[in-house]
Protein backbone atom coordinates (compact mmCIF):
# COMPACT_ATOMS: atom_id res chain seq x y z
CA UNK A 1 0.00 0.00 0.00
CA UNK A 2 1.19 3.51 -0.74
CA UNK A 3 0.63 6.30 1.76
CA UNK A 4 1.24 10.02 1.25
CA UNK A 5 1.84 12.46 4.11
CA UNK A 6 1.46 16.18 3.42
CA UNK A 7 3.86 18.26 5.49
CA UNK A 8 4.28 22.00 5.53
CA UNK A 9 7.23 24.11 6.51
CA UNK A 10 6.16 26.95 8.80
CA UNK A 11 7.85 29.79 10.67
CA UNK A 12 8.47 29.09 14.34
CA UNK A 13 5.42 31.10 15.46
CA UNK A 14 6.55 31.70 19.00
CA UNK A 15 9.23 34.00 17.64
CA UNK A 16 7.12 35.84 15.07
CA UNK A 17 7.10 39.59 15.68
CA UNK A 18 5.18 42.50 14.26
CA UNK A 19 6.91 45.58 12.95
CA UNK A 20 4.95 48.33 14.71
CA UNK A 21 5.92 50.89 12.05
CA UNK A 22 5.01 49.01 8.90
CA UNK A 23 2.44 46.80 10.65
CA UNK A 24 3.75 43.77 8.84
CA UNK A 25 5.07 40.47 10.07
CA UNK A 26 8.82 40.32 10.47
CA UNK A 27 9.91 37.05 8.94
CA UNK A 28 13.57 37.89 8.93
CA UNK A 29 15.60 35.76 11.25
CA UNK A 30 12.60 33.59 12.04
CA UNK A 31 13.46 29.93 12.02
CA UNK A 32 11.59 27.63 9.65
CA UNK A 33 10.43 24.32 11.12
CA UNK A 34 8.26 21.42 10.09
CA UNK A 35 4.66 22.15 11.13
CA UNK A 36 4.59 20.56 14.62
CA UNK A 37 1.11 19.11 14.02
CA UNK A 38 2.35 17.33 10.88
CA UNK A 39 4.70 15.24 13.02
CA UNK A 40 1.60 13.40 14.22
CA UNK A 41 0.59 12.62 10.65
CA UNK A 42 4.08 11.24 10.04
CA UNK A 43 3.85 9.19 13.22
CA UNK A 44 0.45 7.79 12.19
CA UNK A 45 1.86 6.75 8.82
CA UNK A 46 4.87 5.09 10.41
CA UNK A 47 2.65 3.14 12.80
CA UNK A 48 0.55 1.92 9.89
CA UNK A 49 3.71 0.79 8.19
CA UNK A 50 4.51 -1.33 11.22
CA UNK A 51 1.23 -3.21 10.84
CA UNK A 52 1.10 -3.56 7.07
CA UNK A 53 3.38 -3.40 4.12
CA UNK A 54 3.43 0.28 3.23
CA UNK A 55 5.53 2.70 1.23
CA UNK A 56 5.31 6.23 2.59
CA UNK A 57 5.95 9.40 0.61
CA UNK A 58 6.14 12.81 2.22
CA UNK A 59 4.97 15.74 0.09
CA UNK A 60 5.50 19.41 0.67
CA UNK A 61 4.59 22.43 -1.35
CA UNK A 62 6.77 25.43 -0.66
CA UNK A 63 9.96 27.27 -1.52
CA UNK A 64 13.15 25.25 -2.22
CA UNK A 65 14.16 25.34 1.46
CA UNK A 66 11.06 23.29 2.32
CA UNK A 67 13.23 20.26 1.48
CA UNK A 68 14.42 20.61 5.05
CA UNK A 69 10.97 19.71 6.33
CA UNK A 70 10.95 16.72 3.98
CA UNK A 71 14.39 15.63 5.16
CA UNK A 72 13.16 15.73 8.72
CA UNK A 73 10.30 13.43 7.75
CA UNK A 74 12.73 11.04 6.08
CA UNK A 75 14.95 11.10 9.16
CA UNK A 76 11.94 9.90 11.17
CA UNK A 77 11.52 6.94 8.85
CA UNK A 78 9.51 8.08 5.85
CA UNK A 79 10.62 6.26 2.68
CA UNK A 80 10.48 8.93 0.00
CA UNK A 81 9.93 12.65 -0.40
CA UNK A 82 8.74 14.94 -3.16
CA UNK A 83 8.96 18.71 -3.18
CA UNK A 84 6.31 20.68 -5.04
CA UNK A 85 7.84 24.01 -5.85
CA UNK A 86 7.61 26.76 -8.41
CA UNK A 87 7.63 30.55 -8.27
CA UNK A 88 4.20 30.46 -9.89
CA UNK A 89 2.82 28.64 -6.82
CA UNK A 90 3.62 31.47 -4.41
CA UNK A 91 0.75 33.55 -3.12
CA UNK A 92 -1.56 30.53 -3.11
CA UNK A 93 -4.33 30.50 -0.49
CA UNK A 94 -5.69 27.19 0.81
CA UNK A 95 -7.81 26.68 -2.30
CA UNK A 96 -4.88 27.02 -4.71
CA UNK A 97 -2.53 25.09 -2.38
CA UNK A 98 -4.96 22.19 -2.22
CA UNK A 99 -5.45 22.29 -5.95
CA UNK A 100 -1.69 22.05 -6.55
CA UNK A 101 -1.15 19.34 -3.92
CA UNK A 102 -4.02 17.31 -5.39
CA UNK A 103 -2.49 17.62 -8.85
CA UNK A 104 0.85 16.39 -7.52
CA UNK A 105 -0.80 13.43 -5.80
CA UNK A 106 -2.62 12.54 -8.98
CA UNK A 107 0.59 12.84 -10.97
CA UNK A 108 2.50 10.55 -8.62
CA UNK A 109 -0.47 8.19 -8.63
CA UNK A 110 -1.44 5.10 -6.70
CA UNK A 111 -1.87 6.43 -3.15
CA UNK A 112 -4.51 4.71 -1.10
CA UNK A 113 -4.26 6.91 1.95
CA UNK A 114 -3.30 10.56 2.33
CA UNK A 115 -2.51 11.87 5.78
CA UNK A 116 -2.49 15.51 6.88
CA UNK A 117 -1.89 17.33 10.13
CA UNK A 118 -4.86 18.88 11.89
CA UNK A 119 -3.70 22.30 10.73
CA UNK A 120 -0.61 24.32 10.02
CA UNK A 121 0.48 26.58 12.87
CA UNK A 122 0.98 29.59 10.60
CA UNK A 123 -2.16 29.69 8.44
CA UNK A 124 -4.04 27.81 11.11
CA UNK A 125 -6.99 26.96 8.89
CA UNK A 126 -7.09 23.17 8.80
CA UNK A 127 -8.69 23.51 5.39
CA UNK A 128 -6.07 21.94 3.16
CA UNK A 129 -6.87 18.33 4.15
CA UNK A 130 -10.59 18.46 3.29
CA UNK A 131 -9.97 20.69 0.27
CA UNK A 132 -7.39 18.31 -1.13
CA UNK A 133 -9.81 15.44 -0.62
CA UNK A 134 -12.52 17.32 -2.50
CA UNK A 135 -10.10 18.13 -5.32
CA UNK A 136 -9.23 14.43 -5.58
CA UNK A 137 -12.86 13.34 -5.31
CA UNK A 138 -12.03 11.32 -2.19
CA UNK A 139 -13.80 11.06 1.16
CA UNK A 140 -12.15 12.76 4.15
CA UNK A 141 -12.27 12.18 7.87
CA UNK A 142 -10.90 14.96 10.06
CA UNK A 143 -9.69 15.05 13.69
CA UNK A 144 -8.78 11.35 13.72
CA UNK A 145 -7.45 10.40 17.16
CA UNK A 146 -7.13 6.62 16.78
CA UNK A 147 -6.54 4.24 13.95
CA UNK A 148 -7.90 0.94 15.18
CA UNK A 149 -7.42 -1.33 12.24
CA UNK A 150 -6.68 -1.50 8.55
CA UNK A 151 -8.19 -4.53 6.88
CA UNK A 152 -9.33 -5.35 3.37
CA UNK A 153 -9.01 -1.75 2.23
CA UNK A 154 -11.06 -0.37 5.11
CA UNK A 155 -9.67 1.82 7.84
CA UNK A 156 -11.44 1.69 11.22
CA UNK A 157 -10.86 4.90 13.11
CA UNK A 158 -12.19 7.25 15.77
CA UNK A 159 -12.65 10.94 15.33
CA UNK A 160 -12.66 13.61 18.02
CA UNK A 161 -15.79 15.78 17.93
CA UNK A 162 -17.56 18.10 20.35
CA UNK A 163 -18.56 16.10 23.41
CA UNK A 164 -16.91 12.84 22.47
CA UNK A 165 -15.65 10.46 19.84
CA UNK A 166 -17.20 9.12 16.65
CA UNK A 167 -16.33 5.64 15.40
CA UNK A 168 -16.10 5.37 11.65
CA UNK A 169 -14.96 3.05 8.90
CA UNK A 170 -13.41 4.55 5.78
CA UNK A 171 -13.27 2.64 2.55
CA UNK A 172 -9.96 3.57 0.91
CA UNK A 173 -8.71 5.47 -0.97
CA UNK A 174 -9.28 8.45 1.26
CA UNK A 175 -7.82 11.38 3.19
CA UNK A 176 -7.55 11.71 6.95
CA UNK A 177 -6.33 14.54 9.16
CA UNK A 178 -5.01 13.54 12.56
CA UNK A 179 -4.83 15.14 16.01
CA UNK A 180 -2.23 14.78 18.76
CA UNK A 181 -3.86 11.79 20.46
CA UNK A 182 -2.81 9.65 17.49
CA UNK A 183 0.54 9.14 19.24
CA UNK A 184 3.71 10.89 20.33
CA UNK A 185 5.96 11.45 17.29
CA UNK A 186 9.19 9.49 17.36
CA UNK A 187 12.57 11.16 17.16
CA UNK A 188 14.70 11.00 14.02
CA UNK A 189 17.12 8.11 14.02
CA UNK A 190 20.80 8.22 13.09
CA UNK A 191 20.14 5.94 10.13
CA UNK A 192 17.24 8.08 9.06
CA UNK A 193 19.36 11.20 9.20
CA UNK A 194 22.01 9.58 7.04
CA UNK A 195 19.38 8.53 4.54
CA UNK A 196 17.88 12.02 4.49
CA UNK A 197 21.28 13.52 3.86
CA UNK A 198 21.93 11.37 0.83
CA UNK A 199 18.40 11.32 -0.54
CA UNK A 200 17.83 13.08 -3.81
CA UNK A 201 14.45 14.77 -3.49
CA UNK A 202 12.65 15.23 -6.82
CA UNK A 203 10.86 18.51 -7.51
CA UNK A 204 7.50 18.83 -9.22
CA UNK A 205 7.14 22.23 -10.84
CA UNK A 206 4.55 23.98 -12.99
CA UNK A 207 5.93 22.51 -16.17
CA UNK A 208 5.71 18.98 -14.91
CA UNK A 209 2.28 19.40 -13.36
CA UNK A 210 0.88 21.31 -16.34
CA UNK A 211 -1.54 23.43 -14.34
CA UNK A 212 -3.79 26.25 -15.51
CA UNK A 213 -2.21 29.50 -14.33
CA UNK A 214 -5.67 30.87 -13.57
CA UNK A 215 -6.06 28.26 -10.85
CA UNK A 216 -2.78 28.64 -8.99
CA UNK A 217 -0.88 31.30 -7.06
CA UNK A 218 -2.58 34.61 -6.41
CA UNK A 219 -4.76 34.34 -9.53
CA UNK A 220 -6.20 31.04 -8.44
CA UNK A 221 -6.83 32.18 -4.86
CA UNK A 222 -10.37 33.38 -4.13
CA UNK A 223 -9.37 35.10 -0.87
CA UNK A 224 -7.43 38.33 -0.37
CA UNK A 225 -5.89 39.60 2.85
CA UNK A 226 -6.87 43.25 3.08
CA UNK A 227 -5.45 44.17 6.46
CA UNK A 228 -3.40 42.81 9.31
CA UNK A 229 -3.29 44.33 12.77
CA UNK A 230 -2.48 43.60 16.38
CA UNK A 231 -5.44 42.58 18.51
CA UNK A 232 -6.33 45.28 21.01
CA UNK A 233 -6.52 44.49 24.65
CA UNK A 234 -8.86 46.62 26.72
CA UNK A 235 -9.55 46.02 30.37
CA UNK A 236 -8.49 47.72 33.55
CA UNK A 237 -7.15 45.47 36.18
CA UNK A 238 -7.35 46.00 39.93
CA UNK A 239 -4.04 44.64 41.13
CA UNK A 240 -3.49 43.44 44.66
CA UNK A 241 -0.09 42.47 45.97
CA UNK A 242 0.18 39.42 48.15
CA UNK A 243 3.68 39.50 49.54
CA UNK A 244 2.87 39.21 53.22
CA UNK A 245 0.27 37.18 55.05
CA UNK A 246 -1.84 40.25 55.75
CA UNK A 247 -1.71 41.32 52.13
CA UNK A 248 -2.65 37.85 51.00
CA UNK A 249 -5.66 37.80 53.28
CA UNK A 250 -6.80 41.21 52.09
CA UNK A 251 -6.30 40.27 48.45
CA UNK A 252 -8.26 37.06 48.79
CA UNK A 253 -11.07 38.88 50.58
CA UNK A 254 -11.25 41.48 47.84
CA UNK A 255 -11.32 38.70 45.28
CA UNK A 256 -14.17 36.91 47.02
CA UNK A 257 -16.06 40.17 47.29
CA UNK A 258 -15.68 40.72 43.57
CA UNK A 259 -16.84 37.19 42.79
CA UNK A 260 -19.92 37.78 44.91
CA UNK A 261 -20.64 41.07 43.18
CA UNK A 262 -20.27 39.46 39.77
CA UNK A 263 -22.59 36.74 40.88
CA UNK A 264 -25.20 39.29 41.95
CA UNK A 265 -24.78 41.29 38.77
CA UNK A 266 -25.58 38.43 36.47
CA UNK A 267 -28.17 36.70 38.64
Amino acid sequence: MRIAVAVKQVPETKSVKMDPETRTVVRQGVQAIINPLDLYAIEAALRLKESCDAQITALSMGPPQAVNALKEAVAMGIDQAVLISDRAFSGSDTWATSYILAAAIRKLGGFELILCGERATDGDTGQVGPEMAAALGLPVITYVNHIHELRAGTLKISRLVEGGMEKLALRLPGVITVVKEIGEPRLPTFRGKLKAKKLDIPVLNLEILQLDKQLIGLDGSPTRVVKIFRPEIVRRCHLFRAETETQTKAAVEAMLALMNREEVKSA
Partner: protein, 331 residues
Protein backbone atom coordinates in the same frame (compact mmCIF):
# COMPACT_ATOMS: atom_id res chain seq x y z
CA UNK B 1 -31.45 39.64 -4.30
CA UNK B 2 -29.13 36.84 -3.29
CA UNK B 3 -29.31 35.98 0.37
CA UNK B 4 -27.02 35.32 3.30
CA UNK B 5 -27.23 31.76 4.61
CA UNK B 6 -26.22 30.00 7.76
CA UNK B 7 -25.89 26.23 8.22
CA UNK B 8 -27.65 24.96 11.32
CA UNK B 9 -26.25 21.75 12.75
CA UNK B 10 -28.63 19.23 14.26
CA UNK B 11 -28.33 16.22 16.50
CA UNK B 12 -31.12 13.65 16.75
CA UNK B 13 -33.37 16.05 14.88
CA UNK B 14 -32.85 18.97 17.29
CA UNK B 15 -31.07 22.16 16.23
CA UNK B 16 -27.78 22.73 18.05
CA UNK B 17 -27.63 26.11 19.86
CA UNK B 18 -24.44 27.12 18.03
CA UNK B 19 -26.80 27.85 15.10
CA UNK B 20 -28.32 30.69 17.11
CA UNK B 21 -24.89 32.31 17.35
CA UNK B 22 -24.71 32.18 13.57
CA UNK B 23 -28.15 33.81 13.40
CA UNK B 24 -26.77 36.71 15.44
CA UNK B 25 -23.97 37.11 12.91
CA UNK B 26 -26.28 36.59 9.98
CA UNK B 27 -28.86 39.13 11.17
CA UNK B 28 -26.21 41.81 11.61
CA UNK B 29 -24.92 41.21 8.07
CA UNK B 30 -28.43 41.00 6.62
CA UNK B 31 -29.33 44.32 8.18
CA UNK B 32 -26.20 46.02 6.94
CA UNK B 33 -26.49 44.72 3.40
CA UNK B 34 -30.27 44.72 3.03
CA UNK B 35 -30.28 41.01 2.24
CA UNK B 36 -32.46 38.19 3.52
CA UNK B 37 -31.23 35.52 5.87
CA UNK B 38 -31.62 31.82 5.14
CA UNK B 39 -30.83 28.80 7.27
CA UNK B 40 -30.09 25.32 5.93
CA UNK B 41 -30.45 22.13 7.96
CA UNK B 42 -29.45 18.63 6.93
CA UNK B 43 -30.54 15.64 9.02
CA UNK B 44 -33.20 13.05 9.62
CA UNK B 45 -36.62 13.70 11.20
CA UNK B 46 -35.86 17.31 12.02
CA UNK B 47 -38.30 18.70 14.52
CA UNK B 48 -40.81 21.24 13.23
CA UNK B 49 -40.40 23.21 16.45
CA UNK B 50 -36.68 23.45 15.78
CA UNK B 51 -37.24 24.88 12.31
CA UNK B 52 -39.76 27.36 13.69
CA UNK B 53 -37.30 28.43 16.33
CA UNK B 54 -34.74 29.27 13.64
CA UNK B 55 -37.29 31.70 12.25
CA UNK B 56 -38.17 33.09 15.67
CA UNK B 57 -34.47 33.73 16.19
CA UNK B 58 -33.88 35.55 12.94
CA UNK B 59 -34.04 33.41 9.79
CA UNK B 60 -36.35 34.60 7.00
CA UNK B 61 -36.32 31.24 5.26
CA UNK B 62 -35.39 27.76 6.43
CA UNK B 63 -34.58 24.93 4.06
CA UNK B 64 -34.40 21.40 5.46
CA UNK B 65 -33.18 18.30 3.67
CA UNK B 66 -33.91 14.99 5.35
CA UNK B 67 -32.78 11.43 4.73
CA UNK B 68 -31.42 8.52 6.78
CA UNK B 69 -28.00 9.15 5.20
CA UNK B 70 -28.01 12.61 6.77
CA UNK B 71 -28.66 11.50 10.34
CA UNK B 72 -24.99 11.96 11.32
CA UNK B 73 -22.51 14.24 9.67
CA UNK B 74 -20.64 12.65 6.82
CA UNK B 75 -18.75 14.77 4.35
CA UNK B 76 -19.93 13.19 1.09
CA UNK B 77 -23.74 13.29 1.53
CA UNK B 78 -23.64 16.63 3.36
CA UNK B 79 -21.58 18.29 0.64
CA UNK B 80 -23.96 16.99 -2.02
CA UNK B 81 -26.82 18.72 -0.17
CA UNK B 82 -25.01 21.99 0.31
CA UNK B 83 -23.89 22.08 -3.30
CA UNK B 84 -27.48 21.46 -4.42
CA UNK B 85 -28.60 24.36 -2.27
CA UNK B 86 -25.88 26.59 -3.71
CA UNK B 87 -26.99 25.66 -7.21
CA UNK B 88 -30.62 26.40 -6.43
CA UNK B 89 -30.36 29.57 -4.36
CA UNK B 90 -26.96 31.00 -5.33
CA UNK B 91 -26.16 32.32 -1.86
CA UNK B 92 -24.06 35.46 -1.58
CA UNK B 93 -22.61 34.36 1.75
CA UNK B 94 -22.58 31.07 3.68
CA UNK B 95 -21.66 30.96 7.37
CA UNK B 96 -21.02 27.80 9.36
CA UNK B 97 -19.77 27.24 12.88
CA UNK B 98 -16.07 26.37 13.17
CA UNK B 99 -16.97 23.01 14.72
CA UNK B 100 -15.68 19.60 13.69
CA UNK B 101 -18.56 19.51 11.20
CA UNK B 102 -18.27 23.06 9.83
CA UNK B 103 -14.51 22.86 9.52
CA UNK B 104 -14.82 19.72 7.40
CA UNK B 105 -17.89 20.42 5.29
CA UNK B 106 -17.10 24.01 4.35
CA UNK B 107 -13.63 23.41 2.82
CA UNK B 108 -14.94 20.35 0.99
CA UNK B 109 -17.73 22.41 -0.57
CA UNK B 110 -15.59 25.52 -1.14
CA UNK B 111 -13.07 23.48 -3.10
CA UNK B 112 -15.74 21.94 -5.29
CA UNK B 113 -17.36 25.23 -6.24
CA UNK B 114 -14.14 27.30 -6.28
CA UNK B 115 -15.32 29.59 -3.52
CA UNK B 116 -13.15 31.47 -1.05
CA UNK B 117 -13.29 30.28 2.54
CA UNK B 118 -11.99 31.93 5.69
CA UNK B 119 -11.53 29.73 8.75
CA UNK B 120 -12.41 30.45 12.31
CA UNK B 121 -13.50 34.09 12.03
CA UNK B 122 -14.04 36.12 15.16
CA UNK B 123 -15.48 39.21 13.48
CA UNK B 124 -17.59 39.81 10.39
CA UNK B 125 -18.62 42.99 8.67
CA UNK B 126 -19.86 44.30 5.34
CA UNK B 127 -17.57 46.66 3.44
CA UNK B 128 -19.57 49.83 2.86
CA UNK B 129 -18.39 50.64 -0.68
CA UNK B 130 -18.49 47.15 -2.15
CA UNK B 131 -20.95 45.17 -0.05
CA UNK B 132 -18.27 42.47 0.33
CA UNK B 133 -17.99 40.35 3.42
CA UNK B 134 -15.04 41.34 5.63
CA UNK B 135 -13.81 38.38 7.61
CA UNK B 136 -11.45 38.86 10.52
CA UNK B 137 -9.55 36.03 12.16
CA UNK B 138 -6.45 35.42 14.24
CA UNK B 139 -3.41 34.50 12.13
CA UNK B 140 0.23 33.50 12.57
CA UNK B 141 -0.41 31.66 15.77
CA UNK B 142 -2.74 34.34 17.12
CA UNK B 143 -0.02 36.98 17.08
CA UNK B 144 -1.96 39.14 14.67
CA UNK B 145 -5.46 39.56 13.30
CA UNK B 146 -6.07 39.43 9.56
CA UNK B 147 -9.03 40.80 7.65
CA UNK B 148 -9.83 38.85 4.52
CA UNK B 149 -12.26 39.31 1.70
CA UNK B 150 -13.25 37.45 -1.38
CA UNK B 151 -13.80 39.89 -4.26
CA UNK B 152 -14.88 37.63 -7.12
CA UNK B 153 -15.80 34.08 -6.22
CA UNK B 154 -19.20 33.15 -4.83
CA UNK B 155 -20.46 32.24 -2.37
CA UNK B 156 -18.28 34.03 0.17
CA UNK B 157 -17.80 31.37 2.81
CA UNK B 158 -16.64 31.59 6.41
CA UNK B 159 -16.55 29.41 9.50
CA UNK B 160 -17.17 31.26 12.75
CA UNK B 161 -15.53 30.53 16.05
CA UNK B 162 -18.15 29.07 18.45
CA UNK B 163 -18.90 31.14 21.55
CA UNK B 164 -17.49 34.27 19.94
CA UNK B 165 -20.92 35.92 19.90
CA UNK B 166 -24.13 35.57 21.95
CA UNK B 167 -27.11 33.55 20.73
CA UNK B 168 -29.81 35.42 18.86
CA UNK B 169 -32.92 35.78 21.04
CA UNK B 170 -36.42 34.64 20.04
CA UNK B 171 -38.82 37.28 18.82
CA UNK B 172 -42.46 36.36 19.27
CA UNK B 173 -44.54 36.62 16.12
CA UNK B 174 -41.60 36.61 13.71
CA UNK B 175 -42.59 34.96 10.45
CA UNK B 176 -40.72 33.16 7.71
CA UNK B 177 -40.88 30.38 5.23
CA UNK B 178 -40.08 26.70 5.90
CA UNK B 179 -39.21 24.55 2.91
CA UNK B 180 -38.59 20.84 3.12
CA UNK B 181 -36.59 19.73 0.09
CA UNK B 182 -35.82 16.26 -1.06
CA UNK B 183 -32.13 15.45 -0.78
CA UNK B 184 -30.43 14.68 -4.11
CA UNK B 185 -30.08 10.99 -4.93
CA UNK B 186 -26.28 11.32 -4.92
CA UNK B 187 -26.29 11.29 -1.09
CA UNK B 188 -26.45 7.50 -1.33
CA UNK B 189 -22.85 7.41 -2.47
CA UNK B 190 -20.71 7.40 0.64
CA UNK B 191 -17.51 5.61 1.51
CA UNK B 192 -17.68 6.29 5.24
CA UNK B 193 -19.66 4.14 7.62
CA UNK B 194 -20.88 5.41 10.99
CA UNK B 195 -20.27 2.96 13.83
CA UNK B 196 -21.33 4.83 16.95
CA UNK B 197 -20.43 7.55 19.41
CA UNK B 198 -18.64 7.58 22.75
CA UNK B 199 -19.40 10.62 24.89
CA UNK B 200 -16.75 12.34 27.00
CA UNK B 201 -18.50 13.97 29.94
CA UNK B 202 -15.63 16.18 30.96
CA UNK B 203 -15.59 17.63 27.48
CA UNK B 204 -19.16 18.84 27.75
CA UNK B 205 -18.75 20.51 31.11
CA UNK B 206 -15.90 22.82 30.05
CA UNK B 207 -17.57 24.45 27.05
CA UNK B 208 -20.84 25.08 28.81
CA UNK B 209 -19.41 25.97 32.20
CA UNK B 210 -20.35 29.33 33.70
CA UNK B 211 -17.18 29.37 35.76
CA UNK B 212 -13.78 28.03 34.85
CA UNK B 213 -10.60 27.65 36.86
CA UNK B 214 -7.58 27.43 34.58
CA UNK B 215 -4.17 26.12 35.59
CA UNK B 216 -0.99 27.20 33.89
CA UNK B 217 2.58 26.04 34.12
CA UNK B 218 2.98 28.01 37.36
CA UNK B 219 1.34 25.08 39.13
CA UNK B 220 4.71 23.32 38.64
CA UNK B 221 3.76 19.65 39.07
CA UNK B 222 0.97 17.30 38.17
CA UNK B 223 0.36 16.61 41.84
CA UNK B 224 -0.36 20.28 42.51
CA UNK B 225 -3.27 20.23 40.07
CA UNK B 226 -5.17 18.72 42.98
CA UNK B 227 -5.49 22.07 44.73
CA UNK B 228 -6.72 23.77 41.56
CA UNK B 229 -9.30 21.04 41.22
CA UNK B 230 -10.31 21.61 44.82
CA UNK B 231 -10.78 25.31 44.14
CA UNK B 232 -12.81 24.51 41.04
CA UNK B 233 -15.05 22.16 43.01
CA UNK B 234 -15.59 24.74 45.75
CA UNK B 235 -16.55 27.36 43.17
CA UNK B 236 -18.66 24.95 41.15
CA UNK B 237 -16.34 25.60 38.24
CA UNK B 238 -14.95 23.43 35.45
CA UNK B 239 -11.19 22.90 35.18
CA UNK B 240 -9.27 24.19 32.17
CA UNK B 241 -5.58 24.38 31.31
CA UNK B 242 -3.02 26.12 29.15
CA UNK B 243 -1.13 24.29 26.47
CA UNK B 244 1.98 24.12 28.64
CA UNK B 245 0.04 22.03 31.14
CA UNK B 246 -1.53 19.81 28.49
CA UNK B 247 1.78 19.30 26.67
CA UNK B 248 3.30 18.06 29.90
CA UNK B 249 0.48 15.55 30.21
CA UNK B 250 -0.79 16.94 33.52
CA UNK B 251 -4.31 17.24 32.10
CA UNK B 252 -5.62 15.86 28.84
CA UNK B 253 -6.24 17.83 25.67
CA UNK B 254 -9.97 18.26 26.23
CA UNK B 255 -9.01 20.76 28.97
CA UNK B 256 -6.94 23.02 26.73
CA UNK B 257 -8.18 26.56 26.26
CA UNK B 258 -6.87 28.81 23.54
CA UNK B 259 -6.09 29.06 19.89
CA UNK B 260 -5.43 25.37 19.46
CA UNK B 261 -7.86 24.33 22.17
CA UNK B 262 -11.34 25.47 23.08
CA UNK B 263 -12.87 28.91 23.09
CA UNK B 264 -14.82 29.60 26.22
CA UNK B 265 -17.00 32.50 27.29
CA UNK B 266 -17.71 31.84 30.96
CA UNK B 267 -19.06 34.38 33.41
CA UNK B 268 -16.00 33.88 35.56
CA UNK B 269 -12.45 32.87 34.57
CA UNK B 270 -9.84 32.31 37.26
CA UNK B 271 -6.30 31.82 35.95
CA UNK B 272 -3.71 30.33 38.29
CA UNK B 273 -0.09 30.52 37.20
CA UNK B 274 -1.15 31.45 33.68
CA UNK B 275 1.06 33.95 31.85
CA UNK B 276 -1.57 35.07 29.36
CA UNK B 277 0.17 34.28 26.07
CA UNK B 278 -1.71 35.63 23.10
CA UNK B 279 -2.63 32.11 21.97
CA UNK B 280 -4.24 31.42 25.31
CA UNK B 281 -6.06 34.76 25.34
CA UNK B 282 -7.54 33.87 21.95
CA UNK B 283 -9.64 31.28 23.73
CA UNK B 284 -10.82 33.14 26.82
CA UNK B 285 -10.66 36.91 26.48
CA UNK B 286 -14.40 37.19 26.00
CA UNK B 287 -15.00 35.88 29.52
CA UNK B 288 -17.17 38.30 31.47
CA UNK B 289 -14.97 38.55 34.54
CA UNK B 290 -11.30 37.57 34.51
CA UNK B 291 -9.30 36.98 37.67
CA UNK B 292 -5.63 36.08 37.66
CA UNK B 293 -3.14 34.93 40.25
CA UNK B 294 0.46 35.23 39.12
CA UNK B 295 3.70 36.08 40.88
CA UNK B 296 4.98 38.16 37.99
CA UNK B 297 3.50 41.70 38.11
CA UNK B 298 4.28 42.11 34.40
CA UNK B 299 2.46 38.96 33.33
CA UNK B 300 0.39 39.59 30.20
CA UNK B 301 -2.71 38.16 31.78
CA UNK B 302 -3.00 41.22 34.03
CA UNK B 303 -3.54 43.36 30.93
CA UNK B 304 -6.82 41.67 30.25
CA UNK B 305 -7.86 40.77 33.79
CA UNK B 306 -10.45 42.62 35.84
CA UNK B 307 -8.78 41.61 39.05
CA UNK B 308 -5.32 40.33 39.77
CA UNK B 309 -3.34 39.06 42.71
CA UNK B 310 0.39 39.45 42.35
CA UNK B 311 1.74 36.72 44.54
CA UNK B 312 2.84 33.14 44.95
CA UNK B 313 -0.04 30.87 44.11
CA UNK B 314 1.15 28.39 46.70
CA UNK B 315 0.57 31.07 49.36
CA UNK B 316 -2.66 32.44 47.90
CA UNK B 317 -4.48 29.21 47.06
CA UNK B 318 -4.51 27.76 50.59
CA UNK B 319 -5.92 31.00 51.99
CA UNK B 320 -8.57 31.15 49.27
CA UNK B 321 -9.51 27.49 49.62
CA UNK B 322 -9.56 27.83 53.40
CA UNK B 323 -11.95 30.76 53.27
CA UNK B 324 -14.25 29.04 50.80
CA UNK B 325 -14.30 25.92 52.94
CA UNK B 326 -15.21 27.93 56.00
CA UNK B 327 -18.34 28.93 54.22
CA UNK B 328 -17.42 32.30 52.78
CA UNK B 329 -19.54 31.00 50.03
CA UNK B 330 -20.04 32.20 46.56
CA UNK B 331 -23.76 31.95 46.28
Amino acid sequence: MKAIWITAEQEAGEIKPVAYELLTRGRALAKKSGRRLGAMVFGENISEAGLNELIARGADRVVAMEAPELKHFSVEPYSVCMLELIRKYEPEIILAAATSTGRTLMPYVAMTCHAGLTADCTELDIEAETGLLLQTRPAIGGNIMATIKCPEHRPQMATIRPKSTPESPQTAGRTGEIIRLEAPAAIKRTRVEYNGFEPDDEEISLQDAEKIVVVGRGIKTEANIKSARELADLLGAALGATREVVDRGWLNYSHQIGLSGKTVTPRLYVGIGVSGAIQHLAGMQTAECIIAINKDPDAQIFHIADFGIVGDLFEVLPVLIGKLKRGEKIC
